[in-house]
C-alpha cells in the first residue's frame, strides 16, 4: 500500500529536515519515493535547494513553479497530481510553516480523501524550543488552525525538539514533557521522536513513557549552513 506522509508544523520546526530523512530512509529501503516541496511561503532555506542530492538517490522531487529562482510568487505545479495518480511506495509532502503554509494542502483535499484508509499520515512536527510552540496551549492552538487551513486531520505528532547545532540532552526531554501534555489534551498521539542518534539514544535510556515517544527516528542533518563559527563559540561558552 502506498504510504503518504504529510509534514506540517510551526515555522522552523524541522519539517524539511525530516522530509529529507523520511525520503532518504525510504529510498535506502528500495522504495519508490516521491518528495513534494509544497512550501509556498518561504523563499530561503528550502527543500528544492537539495534537488541534486535528492535526485541522485532516485527520489523524485516535485517543486513549486519558480522555486529557487528568486521569485517570491511561487505557484503549485501540476505534477503534484503524480503523488496521487502514480504508483509510489512512499510519498512525502514537505509543507510550509504554520496555518498559512498548510493552506496549500486544501487544494488536494479530494485527492487525500480518496487514499486508502490508513495510507495517510498527517504529522505535526513540533520543536518545543521555538517560541510559538513552547507550550501545550500553543501547540494545541496551532494544531487546530493548521487542521482548519489544510482541511486534514492531524494523525500524529513528531517530537523534533532541537536547538540546531547546539542541541543538548535537555531538548528532547523538555519537548517530551510539553508534547505529552499537548497530546493528552488534544488526543493526537505522538508517533515519532527524532534527533541526532547519540542524543536520541540518551533520551530513550531515560525510561520515559513509550506512549509519548512513538517510533524513535535517528536523523541526519542535511540542511547545513556555513555560519557555524558563532554557534561553535556559543557551544564552548556553555561547557
Amino acid at each position: 500500500m502506498k504510504k503518504v506522509f504529510v509534514l506540517i508544523g510551526n515555522y522552523g520546526s524541522g519539517k524539511t529536515e525530516l522530509a529529507l530523512n523520511f525520503a532518504m530512509r525510504a529510498a535506502r529501503a528500495g522504495e519508490r519515493t516521491e518528495l513534494l516541496d509544497l512550501d509556498m511561503v518561504n523563499t530561503y532555506f528550502r527543500l528544492s535547494e537539495h534537488g541534486r542530492m535528492v535526485s541522485m538517490k532516485e527520489i523524485r522531487l516535485v517543486s513549486p513553479n519558480f522555486a529557487c529562482s528568486g521569485i517570491e510568487t511561487l505557484s503549485l505545479p501540476a505534477e503534484v497530481a503524480s503523488a496521487f495518480a502514480m504508483d509510489w511506495d512512499t510519498v512525502i509532502f514537505d509543507v510550509g510553516g504554520d496555518a498559512v503554509g498548510s493552506t496549500a494542502l486544501g487544494r488536494y483535499h479530494e485527492d487525500f480523501m480518496e487514499l486508502e484508509p490508513g495510507a495517510l499520515e498527517v504529522l505535526n512536527v513540533v520543536n518545543a524550543r521555538r517560541p510559538l510552540a513552547g507550550t501545550a496551549d500553543r501547540i494545541a492552538k496551532l494544531q487546530e488552525e493548521m487542521e482548519a487551513h489544510s482541511r486534514l486531520r492531524i494523525t500524529g505528532m513528531i517530537n523534533n525538539t532541537n536547538l540546531a547545532q547546539v542541541t543538548g540532552p535537555d531538548e528532547l526531554r523538555d519537548g517530551y514533557e510539553i508534547i505529552r501534555e499537548a497530546s493528552e489534551r488534544t488526543g493526537v498521539p505522538v508517533k515519532y521522536t527524532s534527533g541526532q542518534k547519540d542524543l536520541l539514544e540518551q533520551f530513550l535510556a531515560e525510561g520515559h513513557d513509550p506512549r509519548f515517544i512513538g517510533t524513535p527516528l535517528p536523523i541526519k542533518t542535511y540542511m547545513q549552513r556555513d555560519w557555524d563559527s558563532w554557534v561553535r563559540s556559543l557551544s564552548t561558552k556553555q561547557k
Binding site: T43, G70, E72, N127, R129, A164, D226, W227, S229, L234
Partner: protein, 359 residues
C-alpha cells in the same frame, strides 16, 4: 536563561519590543515580511500599535510623527523600500528624532533580487537622504548580536537624538539560530527627560515650553546653528560609540575586513586557513557609522600585517572606508560579488591562497 530557536526576523522584532518599542509602521517586502508579520501578532498583545502603512513613504512619516511624541518607534523594510524612506529618514535626522530603522538588504540596484546582499552600505553610512546627517549604523553578524544591540539601540538614539539604522541582510532575517532573549525593559515617556517631545500643549500653557518637531529653518543663520549642533553630536558619537570585533587578528599576516553575514563566512575561512598554518585574522566593524577608522588603522599597523583583504557581498563599498583608515600604508585587496551571491568560505580561502602566491 533558556535558549530558544528563532528566525532572525522574529528575534529582531521581539528584541525591539523588549527594548520598549510600542509602535511599528511598515510595509511588506521580501526578505523581511516576517518582521511586520510578527509585529502584527505581537503589538496588540502588549498594548502596542501595528500599522501597515499604504507605502514605505507613509510608514517613515508615521515614524516621524510617533517619534515626535517621545515614544519608541520602529520601521523595517528591505533595500528598495528603504530607498523610498530616505526623504523621511533625512527629516527624522533633521528634526533630531530617535527611532530605529531596519534594512534587511537584498540585491540591487532597483528591484534587484530577493536574496541577501550588502549593497546598501553607501546608502546607510554615506547619506541616503539629503543634507549633512548620519545615522548610528549597526551591522550585526549574528542574531544574538542583533538582539543585544537592539536592547541598547533606543538608549543611544535617545541620548544623541539621532535615528539608528540596522544594516542586516536577507540571510540574517531568514536563518534560525539559538538565542537568549533578554527580559522586557520598562519604558515610559518621561517628559522631564525628553523636553523636546510633543506630548500635548494647551492654549494658556507656557508658549516657551511648546515642543515643535521641525526640520525647516528658513533663516540661514538658524539652519547653520542647527547644523552645528548636529555636527557636534556626530563628533560626540564618533568619540563614544565605535564598536568592532577582532578575530584571531593578533598575529595575522593577512587581515580580512568584513561586516555582517560575510564576517561569519570569513571566520569559517580563517579557522580553516589557520588549520593550514596560515596567519589570517578578521577585523569586523560592528558600527559602520561611526566607522572604526582609528581601531582598524591600529590593527593594520601591527608589524606582522602584510596586506588586507576586504570581503563584501557587493562590489566594494566598505572598501572605501578601509582604504581611508589605512591611508595607503598597506596594500588592500578586495573580494566580493554583487548580485546577491554571498562569498563562500571556499572562495575566501582560494583568494587568500592567491594573495600568498602573489597573484
Amino acid at each position: 536563561m533558556a535558549l530558544t530557536l528563532m528566525k532572525g526576523s522574529e528575534a529582531i522584532a521581539e528584541a525591539a519590543i523588549r527594548a520598549g518599542a510600542r509602535f511599528f509602521f511598515g510595509y511588506p517586502i521580501t526578505p523581511q515580511t516576517e518582521i511586520p508579520e510578527y509585529m502584527s501578532a505581537r503589538m496588540p498583545e502588549i498594548g502596542g500599535c501595528y500599522l501597515q502603512a499604504e507605502s514605505e513613504v507613509a510608514a517613515i512619516n508615521m515614524v516621524y510623527g510617533a517619534a515626535g511624541t517621545g515614544a519608541r518607534v520602529i520601521t523595517s523594510s528591505s533595500s528598495p523600500g528603504v530607498s523610498l524612506k530616505q526623504e523621511g529618514i533625512s527629516y527624522c535626522a533633521g528634526a533630531r528624532l530617535p527611532a530605529v530603522i531596519l534594512n534587511v538588504m537584498r540585491g540591487g540596484p532597483g528591484l534587484g533580487s530577493i536574496q541577501a546582499s550588502q549593497g546598501d552600505y553607501f546608502q546607510g553610512v554615506k547619506g541616503g537622504g539629503n543634507g549633512d546627517y548620519h545615522l548610528i549604523t549597526y551591522a550585526p553578524s549574528s542574531i544574538q548580536e542583533a538582539i543585544n544591540i537592539m536592547m541598547f539601540a533606543y538608549d543611544k538614539a535617545e541620548k544623541y537624538r539621532v535615528p539608528v539604522l540596522f544594516l542586516a541582510d536577507g540571510i540574517m532575517a531568514q536563518m534560525m539560530e539559538p538565542v537568549e532573549m533578554p527580559e522586557m525593559v520598562e519604558f515610559h515617556v518621561d517628559p522631564e527627560k525628553k523636553p523636546w517631545a510633543a506630548t500635548g500643549w494647551k492654549p494658556g500653557d507656557d508658549p516657551e515650553k511648546r515642543a515643535q518637531i521641525n526640520s525647516l529653518f528658513i533663516s540661514t543663520e538658524e539652519l547653520s546653528k542647527h547644523n552645528d549642533v548636529l555636527q557636534a553630536t556626530y563628533r560626540e558619537i564618533e568619540k563614544n560609540e565605535v564598536m568592532y570585533e577582532e578575530y584571531r587578528a593578533e598575529d595575522a599576516e593577512i587581515l580580512i575586513t568584513a561586516f555582517g553575514t560575510v564576517a561569519r563566512v570569513a571566520k569559517s575561512a580563517i579557522d580553516e586557513l589557520r588549520a593550514e598554518g596560515l596567519k589570517v585574522g578578521l577585523f569586523r566593524p560592528i558600527t559602520v557609522w561611526p566607522y572604526p577608522y582609528k581601531e582598524l588603522r591600529a590593527a593594520a599597523d601591527r608589524e606582522g600585517v602584510k596586506a588586507l583583504l576586504d570581503v563584501e557581498c557587493n562590489e566594494g563599498q566598505m572598501l572605501e572606508d578601509v582604504k581611508l583608515a589605512i591611508e595607503g600604508t598597506k596594500p588592500v585587496d578586495f573580494f566580493g560579488h554583487c548580485g546577491s551571491q554571498m562569498p563562500t568560505t571556499q572562495e575566501i580561502i582560494e583568494k587568500i591562497h592567491a594573495m600568498k602566491e602573489g597573484k
